[in-house]
Symmetry: none
Subunit: 206 residues, 4 copies
DNA sequence: TATGAATGAGCTTTCATTCAT
DNA sequence: AATGAATGAAAGCTCATTCAT
């Protein structure tokens, strides 16, 4: 129990606590990425974070689930921030937007392998419902791009949700490839993926 | 892999032992698929298999790693068998082969969700080196198809390994989608994927 | 989990398991009696029982509650057995029966101090609902005696349940007295109690 | 005990400290009575007291033992105060004094169930030596009454200490009864107890 | 072959207490 | 006087594995 607060109070977080939590989450991400979630015990995370006791983790996080949840939301927030940045730039057409989306995402994954590996581990081995937060299925940025292309007439007719899933899988699948082949030429992968989905989405004919 | 033993194996496997191992592996697959690998303890697997002791699992498998290895190879063998069946049929061109490959795989995944879920769990949460068996990178059937298309001249120039990876990811990603949305229209997903990679690989222009 | 049984099977108990359970319960009783329930951890119980691991306690008992439950029912069974023995002897009148009941119980408590101390500790510190099993309030042997005396006309009119409670408290209170004064003359206590409740229950007047 | 400090105490207690201690002790009593001593951790007591840190409890009390000791002496002081009040009234004979003693005590217990429950919990589950303070066996008020009756000649011959114990157990046992049956008719219990010990102590014969 | 008892390491979590501020 | 962060020990319990029968 991190502090003794009434159940109703939302609990403001002090600077030092925020810092400690971040430190612990970071150590957790690294540990999970390196050893797998099954080996990421409190003991190992504490050791990596340089903490004197596993009790300190319990002090700052209600339980393991909350810690893993923080791992997920930390990484997801980083992705979101990256994407927001990416999407801020206006582009003239949907094809260009799609290309940017794919390349931007691939680049992010390439530069955040540790985080992506951890995310994967938590989602699959952590008893987490992946996609649970997308359940309401708010229109993803990717689907927005695809719809725009169809509206513009530059994209052919296809099922937007399925095509979005295909593209997202091509992107999300990259961490898998990197796990089995860390030497993979990521840039080439990105370019090839961009071309692939350019060809797959663009309106055919003259 | 089901019937073929390596030449180095020290002892032949009796019929009864083979049966027991299969029973245990099957129980393991079901348990992993249903509760996640983190919850798939010997105790739970034994209970599901109707065994009286977890010791029996240890008796038949050197250790947990071997059991998980058997889970993987059992599922992989099933995939391989399916694919071998698929590829036996001659098709006139690479495009048709690719289409068959994608649709066949998707269909397999759809009809073997339990196994695919287990495979995913073991690969990611099981401390398993996925892709370890591809290390020497034997030419996969998929790459063979892509190369054939380029040789024939019906496929455009692209990086075969990367394109193979993209296609494989679209296929392997299906279990993820199913996990988050079990109601997904799998047939439509397969058809759209086939179309996508048809457009992405076929030679452009007149 | 002591074994891997279907949830429906009532689980027969092997001889060796029965013996181990008895050994552990006995060690628990001694430990609780000597150090108090708060100090009776699995570690200390295991040490006293000469077990190599606390895991063995978990192996034989579902959880701490089950172990404490066994402690209670073991002691309660011993009391019951003693009482059954006592009540087998027919006595000519209720007054004599009451006297036997009191003296017999006091004697039992005196010769089972360890068990009684443990029982007390579990009931109060163990999160146990004492009297929970009497909830249906089956007619206790004590109340039966009191009723008999009133029917016979040798006992005066009084509230049977309350009088039974008073007598039972005089008996159950003995462990408390022994705890604070182990040198107490138990025989005298018993005789004085018998006289007290003889005077308190017998019909007055000529 | 509430206002009287031992002569050896090194430092006087400020008003604010006294208030805090009282607040903490009260929260401890409530917590122990409601959840049992095993669940009455500093964290839970602090939460109930509205304190921001468990450290504050450690600040005001040397250790857990001192806190529990304060719980005991607070309740005992309340009992003592009640009894002093009771005994102030002169009564003409020992029988009447005994009757008042029993009824007064029962009434007190009935109106201080929370405190009595806590006292019980601490004495039994708290690793506390109950009766420790009676070690020198100062003549209890109850024994004084019994002796007076024997001196007056209105009480029969009996062992004063044992009879005192019997009466005290009938009184102290009430919290147990209330714990198992909160609906118990306390008044009737008191009256029946008074009658019982009246009959048991009064001089027989013509 | 199969069983169930046993092992010891490890797990997350809670605890009373300490300490700098 | 009070706070909240930190500590390290201990808790109950689960785990894969071993072993005698």
């Amino acid at each position: 129990m991190s502090a003794i607060r009434s159940a109703t109070a939302p609990a403001p977080r002090s600077f030092i606590e925020t810092a400690r939590r971040a430190q612990i989450v970071d150590a957790a991400i690294t540990t999970i990425a390196e050893m797998g979630i099954a080996s990421a015990s409190y003991a190992r995370i504490a050791k990596r974070a340089g903490l004197s006791s596993t009790g300190l983790i319990s002090y700052h996080f209600e339980n393991r689930e909350e810690l893993l949840g923080e791992v997920v939301s930390t990484v997801v927030a980083a992705i979101g921030e990256h994407m927001a940045h990416q999407l801020r730039v206006d582009v003239s057409n949907a094809g260009e937007a799609l290309r940017r989306y794919i390349l931007g995402n691939v680049e992010f994954i390439d530069s955040h392998r540790r985080e992506m590996k951890a995310l994967l581990e938590v989602f699959i081995g952590g008893g987490f419902e992946y996609g649970a937060e997308e359940e309401e299925h708010v229109l993803s940025p990717l689907e927005a791009i695809l719809r725009r292309g169809q509206r513009e007439g530059t994209f052919r007719r296809f099922d937007v949700r399925v095509m979005a899933a295909l593209i997202q899988r091509a992107i999300d699948g990259l961490p898998f490839l990197l796990a089995s082949d860390p030497e993979l030429d990521v840039d080439r992968y990105g370019l090839e993926a961009a071309t692939t989905f350019d060809l797959a989405t663009r309106r055919q004919g003259p």
